[in-house]
Structure formats: structure tokens, C-alpha cells
């Protein structure tokens, strides 16, 4: 049965159903309802909710809890995510699985609390230090976000990687009917063979991101790079929408992509054939597929709620033949269908 | 009895919290029947018997700094 749910709450419930029983977080608009939902819900499912003293503490609590091989998660919004960068780099180095939800808001700095997509670089290129990557997933409807939670945990454990669900304040705050996913029983989850649980007879295990010997540290890094390669080969996801006959293809993700879907309706009604290429995994970015697509379309328009971040990946992907254009507004201003249509018209005209 | 004090209340700034009314020892403040632009029943002075000495209790308690307190005295020569 479908339920009308708020984005933050649907994501939280889906995470619980995916077997997450450990949530650490710190309030911040526009994701506080996720924290609040967990505060209410975790005790009901015998899980743990802990409000940390800060986002710095949060990420390190996550580190500790992830060390035990359990499914753990947090959620935050842009400034909080910035504070987590050191810890994220540590977790990546220690190959710990965990889920981060970043409900992006307008920046930089304190900015505002309206929807934004200006943390793309931070998540996909690495806001922390060192050569690490996280898997970054960008749902565009609440149903997709909800379905994604189990997959997110599966990916995290399969590759021992961090997974970030990158949404914006709009996905976080809006309501939509959602069919909640099935329950995954935490009991069925097998304890990973690297988890710190007390040695109890076996050889003690160590989990760190640390080796003072650069040649040893290089070995660890090469292992990460190997993982990243595998993920890039196997886990790329995207959606194509009416691109077959498109004279212009828009690349957009998340909220921006769903707004573009409306634009496409408008545009096609007025005779402009517009398609949408929607990366679902922002890292790994669908370079290959977009490269192919770019061979068959003259104009590619990247639309973002930022001043141009994903557009760099789009440029890295496309063949010289097609022109890459950009339209974006940021700081919490959401481009409306009308203005995007205008941008399209300027290009195709 | 002569007027010893009175207050002016910036009714547009007032949020109708009632802290001044609660604090007034002379009970000469009340909510207006009217709304201000923000939609609040603002506070107003109702002091037909000139009881207000200008003690400023209302001023002390007003979180929105709406109140100006006056004291009236005889001129000494």
C-alpha cells in the first residue's frame, strides 16, 4: 500500500527496513526530520538512535560502529557534511561500509536552507584528503530513494565502501506516495570477516587507515583503487528518457531531473525534441554511456542547482562533436520549468 | 490623582506575548481587541485611573522592545 510520506521519513523507514539498526546524527535543516524519525522509530525496532554532540563526533561514531560490521548510517546537510570530511577520509581509508545522506542546501558557508546541488564536487571528487572515492547515488523521486536504501547497504558491504545518497532539500522536504520496501531481517545479515567484535579465540583484527611506511600504505591504496575500478565497471546506473529522437539532451540528476521531465513535456508540446540523461550514480559517473549518446546529439545541456559542477564530468564524457551547454542557479534558488525551457530554446534556436 | 507615568507601545512591533501584561503590577495593560499587521492582538495601556507610575516592569519584560516608559513629575523651580 502506498503511503504519503515526507522524503526524509521515507528514506529513514526504508533504511530501517534494509536492516539498519544504528543511526547517529545531529540536527540540521532541511534533514532534521530524518533524525527525528529515527529518534522515534529506532527504539520501536530495538535499534539504536544517538544524537551526537556534533557532525565531527557523528562521523567518528559511525566509524566505531562500522568497525563492528553492522549496518550504520547518518544524515546531514551541507555544512554538517563538510565537518565530516576528515572522518569520511578515515572511513574510506579503513574500508568501512556506511551510508551518508546529504540533504544539500544553499551554500557556501551558512548560506540558507533551501534546496541546492552545490555539493556535487565534494561528494564525487572527495571533500576530504587523499585518493579516495565514495559511491554517490542520486534519486529523483521518493520511491526511487526508498528503493535505493537496500541497494546502498548492499553496495557498501560488497565493496567495503562508503555510500552517499545525495539529495537536496526538495527531495528531503516534499511528500509523495511511497510503496515501502520489504523488511530485511538484521538476523539474516552475516557478520563480515573483518569486523571488530572482540577476538574471542581468533586472531585479533585491526582496522585502520594507517601505515607509516609509504610502501605499505601504497599497497593499501592500490587495493582501494582496485575496488574503485571494479565499482566503475559494474555499478554505473543512469536513466534515459526520450533521448532516441532528441535534438537536445539534457543531463540532470535528482530534483533537477524531475523538473526537467516536466520541461520535456512542455518542450515537446511546442515542437522541440528534448531528451533527458539522468545519472543515478554520480560516482561512478556514467562516462561511457554519455560518451556514446553524445555521438548522436548535437547539443547537450547540463542543468544543475549549482554554478556548474557535474558539467565537468559531462565534458569529460562527451565527444568533441556535441556542444556542452550549461544552465544553473544555486544558493537555494530552484530553476523553474519555464526558465529551463527558455534556456533550451536559446540553444536550439 | 495626577498622571505619574504612562507607556507607549509600538503596536506594530508587538507580538502579543503578554509578558508585559503579566508583569504589570498595576494591571493597566491588556490585549487590544484589534490585530496588528502581523496578526497579533497587541498590548495596550488601559489606565483610566492613572495608576501607572512608570515603573518600567513592562519594559523589562518585553522581548520585542516595544515599550517606551514615561514618567511625569512636577517641575521644581
Amino acid at each position: 500500500m502506498k503511503m504519503l510520506m515526507k522524503g526524509t521519513e521515507a528514506i529513514a523507514e526504508a533504511a530501517i527496513r534494509a536492516g539498519c539498526r544504528l543511526y547517529f546524527g545531529y540536527p540540521i535543516t532541511p534533514q532534521s526530520e530524518l533524525t527525528e524519525y529515527m529518534a522515534k522509530r529506532m527504539p520501536e525496532v530495538k535499534g539504536t538512535f544517538l544524537q551526537s554532540e556534533s557532525e565531527v563526533a557523528t562521523v567518528n561514531m559511525l566509524y566505531g560502529a562500522a568497525c563492528t560490521g553492522r549496518k550504520v548510517m547518518t544524515s546531514t546537510s551541507s555544512p554538517g557534511f563538510s565537518l565530516m570530511q576528515e572522518g569520511i577520509s578515515y572511513m574510506a581509508g579503513a574500508e568501512l561500509p556506511a551510508i551518508f545522506i546529504n540533504v544539500m542546501r544553499g551554500g557556501p558557508g551558512l548560506g540558507d536552507i533551501q534546496p541546492s546541488q552545490s555539493d556535487y564536487f565534494q561528494s564525487t571528487k572527495g571533500g576530504g584528503h587523499g585518493d579516495y572515492r565514495m559511491i554517490v547515488l542520486a534519486p529523483h523521486t521518493l520511491q526511487e530513494a526508498t528503493n535505493m536504501m537496500k541497494e546502498a547497504f548492499d553496495l557498501a558491504f560488497k565493496y567495503r565502501m562508503l555510500v552517499t545518497i545525495l539529495v537536496d532539500g526538495m527531495i528531503g522536504q516534499m511528500m509523495e506516495p511511497v510503496e515501502l520496501p520489504e523488511w530485511t531481517k538484521p538476523e539474516e545479515f552475516e557478520e563480515p570477516n573483518w569486523a571488530l567484535t572482540g577476538a574471542n579465540g581468533r586472531k585479533p583484527r585491526k582496522v585502520t587507515s594507517f601505515d607509516l611506511d609509504p610502501y605499505e600504505l601504497e599497497k593499501m591504496n592500490l587495493r582501494y583503487q582496485e575496488t574503485y575500478k571494479k565499482v566503475s565497471q559494474n555499478e554505473v546506473k543512469y536513466e534515459e528518457f526520450k533521448i532516441e529522437d532528441a535534438e537536445i539532451t539534457v543531463v540532470a540528476y535528482g530534483t533537477m531531473a524531475r523538473i526537467v521531465k516536466t520541461v520535456i513535456d512542455y518542450a515537446r508540446k511546442s515542437g522541440i525534441k528534448v531528451g533527458l540523461f539522468r545519472p543515478i550514480t554520480l560516482w561512478p559517473f556514467p562516462y561511457e554511456r554519455l560518451s556514446e549518446i553524445s555521438k548522436n546529439v548535437k547539443n547537450i545541456l547540463t542543468v544543475e542547482m549549482s554554478y556548474g559542477q557535474m558539467v565537468e564530468d559531462v565534458k569529460l564524457a562527451v565527444e568533441e562533436k556535441s556542444d556542452v551547454h550549461f544552465y544553473g542557479r544555486s544558493a537555494g534558488v530552484v530553476p523553474t520549468p519555464a526558465e529551463i525551457l527558455d534556456a533550451i530554446k536559446k540553444i536550439v534556436r | 490623582m495626577a498622571k505619574k507615568g504612562y507607556v507607549e507601545i509600538n503596536s506594530e512591533r508587538c507580538k502579543g506575548c503578554g509578558l508585559c501584561i503579566n508583569a504589570c503590577p498595576q494591571h493597566v495593560l491588556k490585549f487590544s481587541e484589534k490585530f496588528n499587521d502581523k496578526g497579533y492582538h497587541y498590548a495596550e495601556l488601559y489606565d483610566p485611573d492613572d495608576k501607572c507610575p512608570g515603573c518600567a516592569f513592562c519594559y523589562y519584560m518585553c522581548p520585542d522592545v516595544c515599550i517606551t516608559v514615561h514618567r511625569v513629575s512636577e517641575e521644581r523651580v
Binding site: L4, D112, I113, M174, M175, P177, V260, T336, P337 | -
Partner: protein, 179 residues
């Protein structure tokens, strides 16, 4: 069919809940819906609004440039959203608070004396449900049964009485709308 509604008013007038009930009722009618709030400190003291989109096809943008319907619960809201209301769109105004007319002539205007009706029911807080009733009536987008179901979803855990009270308010509203 895609219909968009913006509901706007003061923080305390229950516009968010009104939007939610409309969306939920539409969902029970088997339609697609999105509900999008304005949020944050702007809700405190100032005006609050939410946007509801209803459709029988998948809904793209939950952001709306030009709504089909505006429900204005106070003057600033009416003035703000009058500008963007679609030509021939509907403006539903709470005439208990709004003592003037919209200036545009190419729109339909309906009025509901929401506060007064709520007072007669005996609970001033249900003015939002009164207005919702009026909305249901003039747009025909949602039926009383679906509204009832939505109210139950929302309040049943708290208490049945509340559901009845709100439903009664909706019905009053349906009856009292003028256009």
C-alpha cells in the same frame, strides 16, 4: 491531467496540513501527487505556503511556476501569488481575513468565510478544513470519502473525535463556498 495548487497563509493557519490532506485524498483517489512545503524560519511569524501537484500521469516538477489554483488565507499571500496564478485559474480566498479583492480580472475568484464558519462549529482551529471543503467543492478534484480517509490516516492514531470534527468542518466548507 496535471493540476497544481498553492496554499498560502500565516504560520498558524494550518496551510501545511491543508495541503497534506488534499494530497493524501488525491492519492486515495488513485492519482499521483506531490506536496512541497516552504520551510524553515520563514514559517515562523511570516507566511508559509505549500505546493500540491495532482495528476493522472507521473509528476515531474513539484515546483510550479504558474499554479492552477491558489488558496490564499491572508492578504500578503493573495498579493504574492495572484501574479503567478494561471489565466482562468482559481483563486480561493479566506474572506474572514481578506477584506479586499484580487486585482486581476482574468481569474476566477471564490470566497470562504473560513474563520467565522470555524467559530460556528466551535473550534477556530479548523478554519483550514473549512477552506479545504470549499476547495474540494469548487475544483471537484477530491471527494469527501477520500478526504475522510486522509483525515483518518492523519488523526486516527490521536483520536476519532478529531477526525469527525475536521470532517464536519470540511462539509461545512463545501456547503458555504461562494463564487
Amino acid at each position: 491531467m496535471i493540476k497544481s495548487i498553492i496554499i498560502a497563509g500565516f504560520g498558524g493557519q494550518g496551510v501545511m496540513l491543508m495541503g497534506k490532506i488534499i494530497a493524501e485524498a488525491a492519492m486515495f483517489e488513485g492519482l499521483n501527487v506531490t506536496w512541497l512545503p516552504s520551510y524553515g524560519p520563514e514559517m515562523r511569524g511570516g507566511t508559509a505556503n505549500c505546493t500540491v501537484v495532482i495528476g493522472d500521469e507521473p509528476i515531474g516538477s513539484p515546483v510550479v511556476d504558474f499554479p492552477d489554483v491558489v488558496i490564499a488565507m491572508n492578504i500578503p499571500s493573495m498579493m504574492k501569488f495572484e501574479e503567478v496564478l494561471k489565466k482562468d485559474g482559481t483563486m480561493l480566498i479566506n474572506s474572514s481575513v481578506i477584506d479586499r479583492e484580487p486585482s486581476r480580472k482574468d481569474i476566477k475568484v471564490s470566497k470562504i468565510d473560513a474563520n467565522k464558519i470555524a467559530d460556528t462549529i466551535g473550534n477556530s482551529k479548523v478554519l483550514n478544513m473549512v477552506t479545504l471543503g470549499a476547495f474540494a467543492k469548487i475544483t471537484g478534484l477530491i471527494k469527501i470519502e477520500a478526504i475522510g480517509k486522509a483525515l483518518e490516516e492523519t488523526f486516527a492514531s490521536k483520536n476519532k473525535k478529531l477526525v469527525d470534527l475536521n470532517l464536519q468542518a470540511v462539509e461545512h466548507g463545501m456547503k458555504s463556498v461562494t463564487d
